[in-house]
């Protein structure tokens, strides 16, 4: 089946990371020459810089990744479960694809998508066995086609900012990667910043992305980052949160101070529960109900907990602030004042097929500016 497929994709999930199958995934993908999609929890299972890596699927996945799934004739799902944020409308998800589903949980087989070949196994063992029996494949044309879609959609350019002066999520995340040489472990909370982090941080270190996934728990980032730092004391650990989610476990700043744990906290402050606000903008005519929030003064708050706080209001201050945070011993809170109505694009509306994405168009932008 893999040898016969013309447009195969691998969808790698958290199972690959949990079974420590980084090398096996890479070897399998390279031998079969199959593009690799990593799910939200599968991010960093294969480096973003790997030539076969083509992004994250689903609700906030890039255009070319979702179109690749839409056009695929074979999906090899490894350690993933076809979550509703990945599939959108299931009946329109990967309509042309057969499915080889590898998962350790037998209950996942045929649950969302009926598998052509269900394999209940540990990801590492299964991938190694497949690689051993597989003949080398060549799907460069298919990969080239996906890459041409990627260039045509020019993803990064679409995350439009109305203001050139405010810090923007892409440069914040890119700078964290740059300053830490990609060695940081980044823990995200839940919301818009989580999707920006998933999409625009470059995942080059194995198992460097921690997020709450399907549990969707706001307030996760700060305590989880604390645990990560204690587990991996040598790595720089960044907690990325929104101004809404950080409030939900803000008391843990005291624990950071008390136990002397060094976690760098990036707060993307847009003055809203941003993801909910985005839905209200798209689906409820900008009726912003209960989403605007003033929040506290995060720098003074850091001070109150005995930690260093930095506020960043201008884009050119992003890098100096992150460098200062890294140079400072102990925990640091860096608050980035970002554009209040920045959106995560593209977006698949709930109940739609993942190939029907909402992208910010010039028209929409013009309407916004009115």
């Amino acid at each position: 089946m893999i040898a016969q497929a013309k447009r195969p994709v691998i969808m790698a999930g958290h199972g690959v990371i949990l079974s420590n199958a980084y090398a096996e995934l890479k070897a399998f993908a390279e031998k079969a020459s199959v593009p690799v999609i990593t799910t939200l929890l599968g991010l960093s299972a294969l480096s973003d810089t790997h030539p076969l890596h083509i992004g994250m699927p689903g609700m906030h996945g890039p255009v070319h990744t979702n179109h690749a799934i839409g056009a695929a004739d074979l999906i090899i799902g490894v350690g993933m479960r076809f979550d509703d944020r990945v599939t959108g409308d299931v009946s329109k998800f990967a309509p042309y694809a057969k499915l080889i589903h590898i998962d350790i949980d037998a209950a996942e087989m045929h649950k969302v998508k009926v598998a052509t070949v269900p394999i209940v196994a540990d990801a590492r063992v299964a991938l190694a066995a497949l690689t051993a029996t597989l003949e080398a494949g060549d799907h460069r044309d298919w990969l080239g086609e996906i890459r041409s879609w990627e260039q045509a959609s020019d993803e990064r350019g679409k995350q439009l900012q109305r203001s050139d002066e405010l810090p923007d999520p892409i440069s914040i995340l890119g700078t964290i990667h740059k300053v830490t040489d990609g060695e940081a472990i980044v823990v995200s909370d839940v919301g818009q910043h989580q999707m920006w982090t998933a999409r625009f941080y470059q995942w080059t270190r194995e198992n460097s992305h921690i997020t709450s996934g399907g549990l969707g728990t706001m307030g996760f980032a700060l305590p989880a980052a604390m645990g990560v730092k204690m587990g991996v004391p040598d790595a720089p650990v960044w907690a990325v949160a929104g101004d809404g989610g950080i409030q939900m476990n803000i008391q843990e700043l005291a624990t950071l101070r008390q136990e002397g744990i060094a976690v760098k906290v990036a707060i993307m402050n847009n003055g809203y529960l941003g993801m909910v606000r985005q839905w209200q903008q798209f689906f409820h005519s900008r009726n912003y109900s209960e989403t605007p929030m003033t929040g506290p003064d995060h720098v003074k708050l850091a001070d109150a907990y005995g930690l260093k706080g930095i506020r960043v209001k201008r884009r050119e201050e992003v890098e100096p602030a992150i460098r200062e945070a890294m140079a400072t011993e102990g925990s640091v809170i860096v608050e980035f004042i970002i554009e209040p109505e920045a959106n995560v694009y593209p977006m698949v509306a709930p109940g739609k097929a993942i190939t029907e994405m909402i992208e910010e168009t010039a028209q929409e932008k013009a309407n916004d500016d009115k």
């Binding site: 299931v90 949980d105 037998a106 209950a107 087989m109 045929h110 649950k111 009926v114």
Partner: protein, 181 residues
Amino acid sequence: MTNNAVTSVRAHHTNAPQGTAKTHTLIISVVDRPGAVDRVVGVLRRRRSMLKSFALAPDTQPEVFRVTVQVQDAEVVIDHLVAQIRKIIDVQEVINVTAAQAVQLEIVLIQIATSTVQSADLIAAGQQAGATVVDTTPVAMTFEATGSPEEIDQVVAAFQSYPIHDIVRSGCVAMARLSSV
């Protein structure tokens, strides 16, 4: 939970071919720890399984209960159900046996009010249906019968012309047939 329960969309039913539901018998071995059987029942309940019968008793192994449950559903839905029950830590084993692979028996107790019937007629009718008398009082007689669920249905039917006071069925228990050693 009964056969008459109104069910809307149920888990995994989108994959189930229409009209393929049949009765499956599951034999579940579960360690007797507080809450363990609750978890099994919880899975059945949350997945809105169409329960036909449920029997629970100690297993031959110490500290283990054996649950025999009959569920009516399509094969694919039952496969998911089995996979989910197997995920409960206290569950040692789940076997899905069909009637052909297993011996399946059920007990029924039928109590007849005797004030208006001749005892001799009643006993004769009971014998013909394969039921034996296990208890008598001045006003009632209780019969017992053991058989497959279908046989039990027939026994119950045989008593319909008498003044039935109460009927209780044990629920089916099953044992896989050992066909080769």
